[in-house]
């Protein structure tokens, strides 16, 4: 063993124990592939990576375990807006309140928040065209639904 990921690996094992997930070789390799990737990988790219260590692994296994990790809180989704296209007719800059449960999206006027200030330069070479703030949480309906399921 000279991998340099012993810490992450033992953390992973402990997180699985805490979450009541059984430890499989596939899970270890999938999880480490996600954490080792510098960016924000897609399931396909994780599959490509994992297959180098487990050529026989199934894409469905990758998807299943990613979902398991998301549900257990070991990983997150970058955005709640993945899945279906949502249209914006309001072309004026503004922000959003997003219900992570029912996917409702409510506008917040640009003037409802103070302008965002950067404390430092952005990574050089990136051309920013706009920004928006997304408040994630639960809409009133979903708050009620959760209290009385």
């Amino acid at each position: 063993m000279q991998s340099g990921q012993e810490h992450t690996l033992s953390e992973f094992r402990q997180q699985c124990r805490a979450a009541g997930l059984s430890l499989t070789h596939q899970r270890e390799v999938i999880f480490l592939a996600v954490t080792a990737s510098k960016g924000h990988p897609s399931p396909e790219s994780i599959y490509d990576e994992v297959r180098r260590q487990i050529p026989s692994i199934s894409l469905a296994t990758v998807y299943k375990n990613i979902r398991t990790f998301l549900e257990a809180g070991l990983l997150r989704e970058v955005s709640p807006h993945h899945g279906s296209l949502r249209l914006e007719a309001n072309l004026i800059d503004h922000h959003h309140l997003v219900c992570t449960r029912c996917k409702a999206i409510v506008d917040l006027a640009e003037t409802d928040i103070e302008p965002v200030h950067l404390k430092r330069e952005l990574p050089s070479g990136f051309r920013v065209l706009r920004y928006s703030v997304e408040f994630q949480g639960l809409c009133p309906d979903c708050v009620a639904d959760i209290k009385t399921p």
Copy 2:
């Protein structure tokens, strides 16, 4: 005529002319359905709405015209993160720089921006759990690609 949308409709006709799009009944009804919806509708929900006025319309027509409107700038997508799942291994609150062309996602530490301040109360009943700022634009690679295509 007593619809109350003459203004939006004539605006739409003018925007189509400006963009070189021919005017069809389907396009009018689709566009008005999007602008009339208070929220941020999905193509399916627009299809459901439009079918009440044009029962014979095809779902493909709805999708094609939505894409046409997006390309012409008459509508926008709520988020650039729609399509495929992207995983987040960094569970600490932070923000993102997103390239709208190649979908690259780069982390910005929470401490890289000043805390966001609301100028007024949020719509009542919404339970906010977190927020994040998304800077959209072009990554260095895509900036270069566009200059030299």
